[in-house]
């Protein structure tokens, strides 16, 4: 049973309703979308394997699509994320302002050391722009995050931003992954991968690489 990938990470898309999170996701996963997945017992995250630094990384991307205003529902998603996209819409000042709130929710609920990246989506709608690129850059600087303006419509920076966040998560977990390239077996990874059932956050996120 050879695995198709070396490591598995969970990424989460956060931001106001309507900023285009689901679009980003669909775009990144090339619209490999099967409607049956939705209402059956299927998968609500989408998977994609990318290679970073010679490591095959399987990323699971979770999307809160349309549930953003349900406080108790959205909180559930934070717990198992290792990387988070904070997404706003460049044509909505409000969605940009709310990033502060999303970021503080992440501080509160996501595991320590979760990696974050800021995304200004809908960059193709230049004529409706309400948030200058500099504002995005500035906010990202305040939080020490990377920043991308993307467009699901014109496929701008989609792959780049997903790859970047994956790199960041990979770096953050470097210590556990050190053995990865040399010996074929990696006990830590198995744990990272099989913890689906574990309740709450706490132990499954290693806390060695930062702070």
């Amino acid at each position: 049973m050879a695995k198709q990938y070396d490591v598995l990470f969970r990424l989460l898309l956060l931001g106001d309703s309507g900023v285009g999170k689901t679009c980003l996701l669909c775009r990144f996963t090339d619209n490999q979308f099967h409607p049956a997945h939705i209402s059956t017992i299927g998968v609500d995250f989408k998977m994609k394997t990318i290679e970073v630094d010679g490591i095959k990384v399987r990323i699971q991307i979770w999307d809160t699509a349309g549930q953003e205003r349900y406080q108790t529902i959205t909180k559930q998603y934070y717990r198992r994320a290792q990387g988070i996209f904070l997404v706003y819409d460049i044509s909505s000042e409000r969605s940009y302002q709310h990033i502060v709130k999303w970021a503080s929710d992440v501080d509160e609920y996501a595991p320590d050391g979760v990696q974050k990246i800021l995304i200004g989506n809908k960059a193709d709608e230049e004529h409706k722009r309400q948030v200058a690129k500099e504002q995005g850059l500035q906010l990202a600087r305040e939080y020490g995050m990377d920043f991308y303006e993307t467009s699901a419509c014109s496929n701008l920076n989609i792959k780049e931003s997903f790859t970047r966040l994956t790199e960041l998560v990979l770096q953050a977990h470097r210590k556990e992954l050190e053995g990865l390239r040399a010996p074929p077996r990696t006990p830590t990874l198995a744990r990272l991968e099989e913890d689906e059932q574990q309740p709450l956050c706490s132990e499954d996120t290693p806390k060695t690489c930062w702070c």
């Binding site: 979308f33 939705i38 209402s39 349309g66 549930q67 205003r69 502060v100 709130k101 305040e142």
Partner: protein, 532 residues
């Protein structure tokens, strides 16, 4: 293509039997949809295809209904019709008119909701008047739209035996879990059944609740219940008392599960799972193991694991009355909408997308017709409505939680540093309330009490009612200093709450925060109350 046809065959078989045209015709019609661009279908082929039908023969055409119901996902206005009419023969005009008439008759709500559409339709009517024959005019009648009883859906009462005679205690401590679950379900169902087909559509297209008050209310109710659950637990001064409330809510959750009201169940369990509650170690040590076990089972049932797998299973096994976790189903709709392309290759419309969306929405709409299997007491409904309208921030609830059970010393250095707040979310950092602010908040709260409880508007409410009101809020244990008799004036009530504020400041809780709970700034509440 073949697959898609097969998929659709299921839904078309009933049509085969009831509809005037033959199955071949339906198939031909399907093929038309697949082989033509959407505009062509609507401009020309659609009415043409239905040329053999009389106006009333449309009625059972499920597919046509789907197309009409869902077309706004693909095209927003119907101005294309105008050009169609201008260039077609008189014979075709009749067909178009029949088609439009059917549309207006069956989907008048859509015209009401979409002003662009109805404007276009009025223009169309003008055009017909100017150029068409008399018959055409008679067929197209936009006044029909306006004459419809728009409020039918909105004012429809929840069908239940609301007995006014039965005496109930309005003190939280005296309420049985079953009473709470019944009344929460009553409120939930009332808000759920108001969400119309177009509301779902608008939500999907706009991905937000802007100008979608029914949806917004439903979400606000859900969040309100979660906060209320947290606050009721946190309002108790000792771990034992908090544990009692916690246990009570677990029992409420069990009853909600029995009622198959998953939305409120999610709100209650979500509230109990919230870290403001789960961090209360002293409290949870007072909760018996069997209750914790039930709590864990519930949490598992509602977990987001594998796209809410366990919830979906449970939900699908339920028959009769049930209330879905709306958030989960809205997510499905958004994913379907964003995930599938509007057009297939060669600009053929993706009928399967429309079909899936229609079915998902329709399933939710069907549930609204179920009879509510319980009785509601209106006093309790009013009380809950008022106390669920919460305007607490997460941070304020946290403060309350820390005030009840302070951080242990070990954990103390981990205090998360809040990021610089630049936006309007800053409300969480509440300064120590000055008397002026307190007074303002008390005044606002008293106003809302009078608005809702001073039925004869004489400036007094009865002592009995005041006690009910005071008991419904999380600071209900704050006893009155003296026994009032008979009627209570506005000033007396104000004084009571001002006094309560000083008691609270001794407890380390800003009264300002507590009063906020009861402020009812939204006009929407008036709407809710009228419907009660």
């Amino acid at each position: 293509m073949v697959d898609l046809l097969l998929c659709l065959k299921g839904c078309l078989i009933p049509i085969q039997a009831t509809l005037v045209p033959s199955w071949q015709a339906v198939e031909k019609h399907l093929l038309l949809i697949f082989t033509n661009t959407f505009t062509t279908v609507f401009q020309y082929e659609y009415p043409f295809f239905f040329s053999d039908l009389e106006g009333n023969a449309y009625q059972n055409n499920h597919l046509l209904k789907i197309i009409l119901a869902m077309h706004q996902f693909i095209i927003s206005s119907f101005s294309t019709y105008l050009s169609a009419l201008e260039s077609k023969s008189s014979m075709l005009c009749v067909k178009i008119c029949y088609f439009v008439r059917y549309w207006i008759t069956e989907f008048w709500v859509m015209f009401k909701m979409d002003s662009k559409l109805s404007t276009t339709m009025e223009e169309f009517q003008e055009l017909v008047k100017a150029n068409g024959e008399e018959l055409h005019c008679r067929l197209i009648d936009t006044t029909q739209i306006n004459s419809r009883d728009w409020s039918r859906k909105l004012t429809q009462r929840v069908k239940t035996n609301t007995s006014k005679k039965r005496k109930v205690s309005l003190l939280f401590d005296h309420l049985e879990p079953e009473e709470l679950s019944d009344h929460l379900t009553y409120l939930e169902f009332k808000s759920f059944r108001r969400i119309s087909f177009s509301d779902y559509q608008n939500y999907i297209v706009n991905s937000c609740v802007k100008e979608n008050p029914t949806m917004e209310r439903s979400i606000a109710l859900c969040n309100g219940i979660s906060q209320w659950v947290q606050l009721m637990v946190l309002s108790r001064p000792t771990p034992q008392l908090r544990a009692e409330v916690f246990i009570k809510f677990i029992h409420v959750a069990q009853k909600l599960h029995q009622l198959q009201n998953f939305n409120t169940l999610m709100a209650v369990i979500g509230g109990l799972c919230h870290s403001s509650i789960s961090r209360l170690k002293e409290t949870s040590s007072c909760v018996p193991h069997d209750v914790i076990k039930v709590f864990n089972e519930m949490t598992e049932l509602l977990s987001s694991y594998r796209n809410y797998d366990s919830y979906r299973r449970a939900y699908n096994e339920c028959s009769n009355f049930k209330i879905p976790i709306l958030g989960v189903h809205l997510k499905d709709l958004i994913s379907l909408y964003e995930g599938m392309p509007d057009y297939l290759e060669d600009k053929k419309i993706n009928i399967y997308k429309l079909y899936s969306l229609y079915n998902h929405i329709n399933e939710l709409i069907q549930l609204q017709e179920m009879p509510l299997p319980l009785e509601a007491n209106m006093d309790l409904v009013h009380l809950l409505t008022l106390s669920l309208d919460l305007y607490y921030t997460e941070d304020e609830i946290y403060e309350l939680s820390y005030a009840r059970e302070p951080r242990s010393h070990r954990a103390a250095p981990l205090t998360p540093s809040r990021p610089p707040v630049v936006a309007d979310w800053a409300s969480g950092v509440a300064p120590k309330p000055d008397p002026k602010t307190i007074s303002k908040h008390v005044q606002r709260m008293v106003d809302s009490v009078f608005k809702n409880y001073d039925h004869d508007q004489d400036g007094y409410i009865s002592q009995e009612e005041f006690e009910k009101i005071a008991a419904s809020f999380p600071f209900s244990f704050c006893v009155m200093a003296k026994d009032w008799e008979g009627l209570i004036s506005r000033d007396e009530i104000t004084a009571y709450f001002m006094r309560a504020s000083s008691i609270y400041s001794k407890l380390g809780l800003g009264f300002k925060d507590l009063v906020k709970l009861t402020v009812l700034p939204t006009p929407s509440l008036a709407g809710i109350k009228q419907g009660c």
